[in-house]
């Protein structure tokens, strides 16, 4: 593993386009596995590669933005890295004892009829914290979320921004070595977003940590990423350390055909003249 936190080697994952056929394959695969027979790694009718032969390594200090059009396999790849999906083929090597915290949907597990404080405890448990760990970090969570004034209010009465801040603050309090963020990076109002960017930047420098985040927003890539992965139809087609280059390539060569010249020009201008 040398100095890498994570090594992804030729990882592929297939899914089925049709619901009933997918269930049928599910029955077949469960049955084969139960009796000890291998499950096919080849595509069957109606199946497609959600990610195909993806390989890359993650070093400490890296903040990697994963970009790509809808359905390009970004979320599937993040779920495989988080251990939620098993890859169809390929392997992932984690540095020994690597702690991974993934966020795929900030609202998962929140209970509207319970207060902010009760939901912080619940969310901490969902992110795998122990009671003692939460006790140590509760002040940080309250402080970071800026929700002290609303701790006794039911979360059902929170705005969407407040709910997102609550979950996001608990997630970063888990202090993972690898933080996986899918479409939930830097939430809340603009001040809170800036705070999140600054925090993540410092966070990866403090210890041997890295962040992998999925986004299609130019601002979120430019503000934070020191490496960009571009995905298309399940494949990793570019791995660049210059966010500007990667985004320009993405806009010109990947999604450019689907945009009007005016929109394309506007986006490129945003990249070239980006300021925090």
């Amino acid at each position: 593993m040398d100095e890498h936190l994570l090594e992804i080697n030729h990882v592929s994952k297939k899914f089925c386009r049709r619901l009933k056929r997918s269930l049928f394959y599910g029955i077949k695969d469960v049955a084969r596995q139960t009796v000890g027979l291998p499950i096919t790694t080849q595509l069957r009718p109606e199946e497609f590669w959600a990610t195909h032969e993806v390989s890359f390594k993650v070093k400490p200090g890296e903040i990697i933005a994963v970009i790509g059009a809808n359905g390009s396999g970004k979320t599937t790849l993040m779920r495989i890295i988080a251990g939620i999906y098993q890859p169809t083929s390929g392997e992932i090597k984690y540095r020994q004892g690597l702690k991974v915290t993934p966020i795929f949907a900030l609202n998962v597990g929140l209970r509207n009829e319970f207060t902010g404080l009760e939901n912080m405890k619940l969310k901490a448990a969902i992110f795998g914290m122990t009671e003692a760990e939460l006790k140590r970090k509760l002040d940080f969570i309250i402080d970071f979320s800026e929700l002290e004034y609303a701790l006794d209010t039911p979360v059902g009465n929170y705005s969407s921004g407040m709910r997102a801040r609550l979950s996001y603050s608990v997630a970063i309090a888990t202090e993972p070595d690898l933080f996986i963020i899918d479409e939930a990076l830097a939430v809340g109002d603009s001040l809170f977003k800036t705070k999140c960017y600054e925090h993540l930047g410092e966070y990866v420098q403090e210890k041997e940590r890295a962040v992998l985040y999925v986004t299609n927003r130019i601002r979120k890539v430019m503000a934070l990423a020191n490496r960009v992965l571009v995905m298309r139809s399940g494949k990793l087609i570019q791995d660049a350390h210059d966010a500007k280059d990667a985004l320009e390539y993405y806009i010109n060569d990947i999604v450019g055909d689907d945009m009007t010249e005016r929109v394309k020009e506007m986006k490129l201008k945003k990249i070239r003249h980006f300021e925090m």
């Binding site: 997918s22 269930l23 599910g26 597990g109 209970r111 009829e113 992110f127 795998g128 122990t130």
Partner: protein, 264 residues
């Protein structure tokens, strides 16, 4: 099974939090609150007393008053059925959490069992008070009653864990098994006694493991005797083996079926 206990240990705080949230959440919006945990079993007792008084039901000969017999039997049956229900809904009810976070299914399964036990204990204490009022007296062996329920819990979970997988990829089979559970209640001596005279029903009752698993617990509590101890032990052993096999099946198959939850 070791994986199960290791996982529970590292996710214990989640088990605790989810249990609190589920129990408190059930009554959070109700003005009577947790009092419902006592009101519902008292209402159930009243219904059976009224039905018995009206002579609507004719159960055959029982050692203890009929309402007390039915009350106890249905409680024990409910213990088995709820173990099945909560386990069989494990993946579908927690699908979002399982797909959107790193939480494995083991702590969620444990939480379901803990909530199930809490939901069983309170009404059961009410039932014991009613049994005392009906003149039923308990022997010292009745203290073994909670342990005698373990095989029923294991059998309910064993069935539930298999159906949890079916509920995603073979919904028709899961629905059939759910309906089968309703039928199973009438093929088990719960609202009638094992001393039945119908030939075909007698054969089924004799081969039904629940006859022994429920009968043993019931007699242990009410008369301090062991009902068919050999059959009880054999079916207890089978229940344990089935639970271990079902857990392995769930563990191995969960990743294959969970990725199909998105489609559901």
């Amino acid at each position: 099974m070791w994986k199960f206990f290791r996982s529970i240990r590292s996710w214990w705080y989640l088990v605790k939090q989810l249990t609190q949230v589920e129990i408190i959440g059930m009554y959070k919006k109700s003005f009577l609150g947790m009092a419902w945990m006592f009101i519902l079993p008292i209402l159930a007792v009243i219904i059976w007393v009224v039905l018995n008084g009206a002579g609507v039901v004719n159960p055959g000969e029982t050692d203890i008053p009929y309402p007390a017999y039915v009350l106890l039997s249905t409680s024990i049956w409910g213990f088995f059925l709820e173990a099945y229900k909560s386990t069989s809904n494990l993946l579908t009810k927690n699908g979002r959490m399982l797909i959107m976070s790193e939480v494995p299914f083991e702590p969620l399964l444990m939480q379901k069992i803990v909530v199930h036990l809490i939901n069983f204990i309170i009404p059961f204490v009410v039932n014991i008070i009613v049994l005392l009022a009906f003149g039923v007296r308990f022997s010292a062996l009745a203290l073994l009653f909670p342990i005698s329920l373990v095989p029923l819990l294991m059998l309910g979970m064993a069935l539930g864990m298999v159906v949890a997988i079916f509920r995603i990829i073979m919904v028709d089979v899961a629905n059939l098994i759910d309906e089968g559970m309703k039928l199973l209640m009438f093929l088990t001596p719960i609202v009638y006694t094992p001393k039945i005279t119908s030939n075909w029903l007698e054969v089924i009752v004799n081969y039904n493991p629940l006859t022994y698993l429920i009968g043993f617990s019931r007699d242990l509590l009410t008369s301090g005797t062991f009902y068919m101890p050999l059959q009880y032990l054999v079916f207890s052993g089978i229940s344990f083996i089935l639970m271990a096999l079902s857990f392995r099946f769930l563990l191995k198959s969960s990743s294959i079926v969970l990725e199909r939850l998105i489609n559901n």
